[in-house]
Symmetry: C2
Subunit: 341 residues, 2 copies
Amino acid sequence: MIIDIHGHYTTAPKALEDWRHRQIAGLKDPAVAPRVAELVISDDALRESIENNQLKKMKERGIDLTIFSPRASFMAHHIGDFNTSATWAAICNELCFRVSQLFPDHFAGAAMLPQSPGVDPATCIPELEKCVTEYGFVGVNLNPDPSGGHWTSPPLTDRYWYPLYEKLVKWDIPAMIHVSTSCNSCFHTTGAHYINADTTAVMQLIQGDLFSDFPQLKFVIPHGGGAAPYHWGRYRGLAQEMKKPLLSEHLLQNVYFDTCVYHQPGIDLLTQVIPTENILFASEMIGAVRGIDPETGYFFDDTRRYIEAADLTEDERRMIYEGNARRVYARLDKSLSAMGK
Amino acid sequence: MIIDIHGHYTTAPKALEDWRHRQIAGLKDPAVAPRVAELVISDDALRESIENNQLKKMKERGIDLTIFSPRASFMAHHIGDFNTSATWAAICNELCFRVSQLFPDHFAGAAMLPQSPGVDPATCIPELEKCVTEYGFVGVNLNPDPSGGHWTSPPLTDRYWYPLYEKLVKWDIPAMIHVSTSCNSCFHTTGAHYINADTTAVMQLIQGDLFSDFPQLKFVIPHGGGAAPYHWGRYRGLAQEMKKPLLSEHLLQNVYFDTCVYHQPGIDLLTQVIPTENILFASEMIGAVRGIDPETGYFFDDTRRYIEAADLTEDERRMIYEGNARRVYARLDKSLSAMGK
């Protein structure tokens, strides 16, 4: 089977966005703040938003299952305070849960967290616990910069984040390190902030020794690892100067890269430089780059084509498509096994 | 001949660093602030610092000439105010000028600017003018984030920067977009901030239309263009969604990438994805990554080896080594021609 580990609910019914706009307006004028109960989205509306979008493309591309989380750019943790984020995260996670219930063969949930700049990450644990234990979610997106491009939180290796990591290890949940919208005009959200965050996270992990404290912790760096594989020599060299172990040991026992790289040469480099066991198939389809590549005639985000064309054995392709995902997302593997898959 | 367009004076005599430490101490306690005249570095000390370092390696690697600017991580524009930066930039530029006078066959100067967060970039023009007209410098480093990792300046496409661009065009000087030390603990200086800045700059230029206003302006994006070539499909796709022209037209008439990518697969991708005429040979030697790659037995920053091993014709290699540099650094070409080279 083919598992896409990086999908967001970018096509949710417009009522969701409308509700969020009212929530944001309510920050200035509490009189217009909406109640949660005012957001009503029917199962039919959810079905339609998926069947005509993600599921349609998954079938066209031969993708069986997507790990599905709330829209990354809409997390916007910088807006409001913890309560704002808590309400918004609960709504968004519930929608992904409902999608996973409506299409249990095709979608498994991953949580967004109710992060807020300057607020203790431990406050996110109850929402995460609900997503894991009640919703059956198999992953979580962790935003290393809830400020949205001002980078005011400590590095991922700081003890600040440890209470969350303890739970991730306890529940065997990998974290995808994924920022949200940039509110810094220097950083285009999907063209700079996303990629910079990936690169930044890799370097933080090289500088630190996080996985000595949490040998079971697993991080997925999206968008093909930002700039890291392209500059792998730089990172190997920097680690060496810092007297760290080889990256194969220091990083790659715990860190995985997805395949959201939207052209063949990028995927070729990724699969050449990074060990196959650290690469997870993903497309982030109907996401940052939705058009057709005039150079190929196919969608930029149809990453399966690049994997098919890459210089890989069938065994390696199977690892990238399924085996690695089932190893990293252990709860997904369990539920798939329970379904006889 | 082989021109390395990206070298910094990372090996300056220690007196320089000592003076800077006193200058920084003087910001708190003006009584300890040093006078400029207190910094005395002899020609012999300069010669020694170059002959045993950059020039030695240039000879070993067959590099004829380096475009040489003050140490990037020492620019630290976030420290002090405009006057702090002005004094410091003048000192550092003068040292590079003296190196270019001592070794006219091997070094051509590029300026650092006396940038300071929140200060009008036009204040940098007098220092730049001196470097170009008196020192014969052929390039300049422009820091898109003088705050050192807080990104408080407007994007490079903002009119804020235009007074400087007017002079760059007037003097036919390309700008290398190069940040300095990060004072944000999230960003490792050479492992995250440098690479992020490159990626950020490329995306700012894609979002904007700067080169419509300045068709003659030339930017060099160092470190192989950050993440941009690896994610070239993403950038082509984002430009397309923004209804921009093809990147070959929108970006590559004015933007060049250097070859500071420290492993073979990265250089292979760069030379495959980016047109040869947009690639400039560089190593930033004795810079961010000074060790020997255990996988090859050669220095990580010995980028000439990667160019030699890349799938390029001899004509293409000549363009990367010399032709493109002489086209982009027009003042260098003039002075080389005047020397019969």
